[in-house]
């Protein structure tokens, strides 16, 4: 059965170009870049090159890029590091729709004496910037707000937000894991101090990420024990993956246009097709300011896990914000923060496309989904006939 993969906000296929770029670093150049001998030392230039490739994608200086093991580490490092550097028990601002890699860190720091403000969102998943302005305090050390939401794809106005935060004198961190490669990001234009990105959302294997740290930003390291990454992140470099991330960033720059034209129109066709063919469905999140690859659709009166398992029968991979899929008992925190009614939150399905998505993928979903929805609704006690 053909795998129709529409869950790219969860992880992406490794690009063949990325894999090819990585292979020599398993077989041939496996030395330690910190070594004095040529065999090891020669590897360093490939790390430098990867750092330049990552920096170029977001228009940063290579010295501002620190390689980490994943997006979650980058987020942890940013928030912990900035809070530690600030000293004391400062105030932190974040939002209620962040990824757990941000929310859990803030909640942990709250137990250590920091005060945390979580900004709410409206029914379309948008922030109220006046609420942010009011929340800022003289002791606010860091503001951590995602650039694009993983579940709905809704994009926050990070340009404007960064300006507000910088004017208040706080450090601005953004979890940019979902937006990198889908929208142009330029840290010369957007005054963020810290920016987290992840490789495996960008067609590298899992296990590599990076944190952009603007020059002059005070941040303490999370991992101690070595001089690597300018002393900001100890640990012998994961050379093949770093090289892979460099290559992936280079490729991503070439595909941003594709994401915003071809991939976007595939997404739009999928979304429109579902809205036209299934009654009682709704799109979650603002459709205007949204990632080009993501659509989050709620099917009223039926439950997400059941929909996913039926899609799975046809080789279609998507994900759900329903309670049952996560092992938790409540629907996704993003759906709840948006006030999506329970009738819809339990039946929310996210389709997320990538450069490898095709017209055939969309056709397959549109072919099967009306029957799946009908079938489950026939089982549901909430559908009035």
């Amino acid at each position: 059965m053909k795998n129709i993969y529409l869950d790219n906000n969860a992880t992406t296929r490794v690009a063949p170009e990325v894999r090819d770029a990585m292979m020599p670093f398993f077989d041939e150049f496996w030395g330690n870049p910190s070594s004095m001998h040529t065999f090891g030392g020669q590897v360093k230039k490939y790390i430098d090159q990867a750092r330049e490739q990552v920096a170029e994608l977001i228009n940063a200086d290579p010295s501002e890029i620190v390689f980490t093991s994943c997006g979650s580490e980058s987020d942890n490092m940013a928030i912990h590091g900035a809070v530690e550097a600030a000293g004391g028990k400062p105030h932190i601002i974040t939002t209620r729709v962040e990824h757990p890699a941000v929310l859990a860190v803030c909640q942990y720091l709250q137990t250590r004496g920091c005060s945390v403000t979580e900004l709410g969102v409206d029914s379309q998943g948008r922030l109220d910037l006046d609420e942010l302005k009011k929340a800022l305090r003289p002791d606010t050390a860091i503001v951590s707000i995602m650039w694009a939401n993983n579940e709905t794809g809704v994009i926050f106005p990070i340009d404007e937000i960064s300006e507000i935060v910088k004017n208040a004198g706080a450090v601005m961190h953004t979890d940019a894991v979902q937006i990198i490669g889908k929208f142009p990001v330029d840290v010369k234009k957007t005054p963020v101090d810290l920016l987290a990105l992840s490789g495996h959302k960008l067609h590298t294997p899992k296990g590599i990420g990076a944190l952009y740290i603007r020059k002059g930003t005070r941040i303490n390291p999370l991992i101690l024990g070595g001089h690597q990454e300018g002393g900001k992140r100890a640990g012998t470099e994961n050379v093949p993956y770093i090289v892979g991330l460099g290559k992936a960033c280079e490729l991503a720059a070439n595909f941003i246009k594709d994401e915003n034209t071809r991939v976007k129109s595939l997404r739009d066709r999928l979304e429109k097709g579902i809205l036209d063919s299934c009654p009682d469905v709704r799109v979650n999140g603002n459709r205007e300011h949204r990632l080009p690859n993501t659509t989050n659709i709620s099917f009223e009166y039926i439950e997400g896990e059941s929909i996913l398992l039926m899609l799975d029968e046809f080789g279609i991979a998507a994900s759900s914000g329903s309670a049952c899929t996560s092992g938790s008992l409540e629907p996704s925190h993003v759906m709840r923060a948006m006030g999506v009614p329970f009738t819809a939150a339990h039946g929310s399905i996210r389709f997320s496309l990538s450069r490898y998505s095709t017209e055939d993928d969309v056709t397959a979903v549109l072919e099967h989904i009306p029957a799946i929805v009908n079938r489950l609704r026939e089982l549901s006690p909430f559908v009035q006939k």
Binding site: E303, E305, S306, L309, E313, C324, R336, A337, H346, L379
Partner: protein, 281 residues
């Protein structure tokens, strides 16, 4: 991905006895859209008093649908006395087992069956009734229900109780209480609670400040999980006036329980004689 048995998958993909019997002898409903699963069960008896026909409608995940389907297969042909003895374990066993975290689906089946039998015998209350004191306010689970599930399934941990009833799976505020219920039902010694610090006599200002702090630190985080929040309107002697906002205000449990939760917290941390009253903003 859940590790479902082939039998669960089969009953999910090919559910037996789907639908509603229009002139049913017994109708039972349990769960709600808010809780994420719901089951409506109808049956019809033959002349000898055996279940001749039984049908279900379920909103829920694969294991909820499979559990409902299994239930109908189990009880078909039974007398009501026999059916009343069916436990959630029977449903889970029929399916070759359910993942631990999904055991609540089998419990839902048993509850719907009980409600339907009740409906036939008494001619009233189609809805599964909340009998006893509500322990978990997030999912509306009562003490009676928790005790029953602990006994039927020989449960020993809070996590198991959550898997079987959902209780404790929302804000988690009732976990301590579930622990006490387990200890009581299992007949094990209840851990003596640490001696409560004697509550000081508070001045009015101190009291209001402490109420504010307790709301901020203990209560708001619980409510926020459900997208709600609470405003302190006024404190008049021992009466604390509050109003709920967001989803709390519309929650089906609001009148009964939200107030109780807030009151319990304030009594624990501030003063034993406080009475919480809800005012509409």
């Amino acid at each position: 991905m859940w590790d479902y048995t082939d039998k669960v998958k089969d009953h999910f993909k090919n559910p037996r006895n789907v639908g509603l019997i229009p002139d049913a002898d017994g109708v039972g409903e349990v769960g709600s859209l808010a809780c994420g699963d719901a089951l409506k069960l109808t049956f019809k008896l033959d002349k000898t008093g055996r279940i001749a026909e039984v049908k279900f409608q379920t909103f829920g995940c694969a294991s909820a649908i499979a559990s409902s389907s299994a239930l109908t297969e189990i009880v078909k042909g039974m007398t009501l006395d026999e059916a009343a003895k069916v436990t959630n374990q029977d449903i889970a066993e029929f399916l070759g087992g359910l993942p631990e975290q999904k055991m609540h689906c089998s419990v839902m089946g048993r509850e719907a069956l009980e409600a339907a039998i009740d409906n036939y015998r008494t001619g009233k209350k189609v809805k599964h009734e909340l009998a006893g004191r509500v322990v978990c306010t997030c999912f509306g689970v009562t003490e009676t229900e928790i005790e029953r599930v602990i006994r039927d399934n020989k449960l020993t941990t809070v996590e198991q109780v959550t898997n079987y009833t959902k209780a404790g799976g929302g804000c988690g505020g009732c976990k301590g209480e579930i622990e006490k219920i387990i200890a009581r039902v299992r007949g094990t010694a209840v851990q003596p609670p640490p001696p409560a610090p004697a509550k000081k006599l508070l001045t009015n200002l101190q009291k209001i400040k402490l109420i504010e702090e307790t709301i901020e630190k203990n209560i708001q985080p619980m409510l926020r999980q459900d997208g709600g929040s609470l405003d302190l309107i006024d404190v008049q002697a021992n009466r604390v006036l509050v109003s709920f906002r967001g989803t709390c205000a519309q929650c089906r449990m609001a009148e009964v329980t939200m107030k109780d939760v807030v009151q319990a917290q304030l009594r624990e941390f501030v003063s034993d004689d406080l009475i919480v009253e809800e005012v509409k903003p």
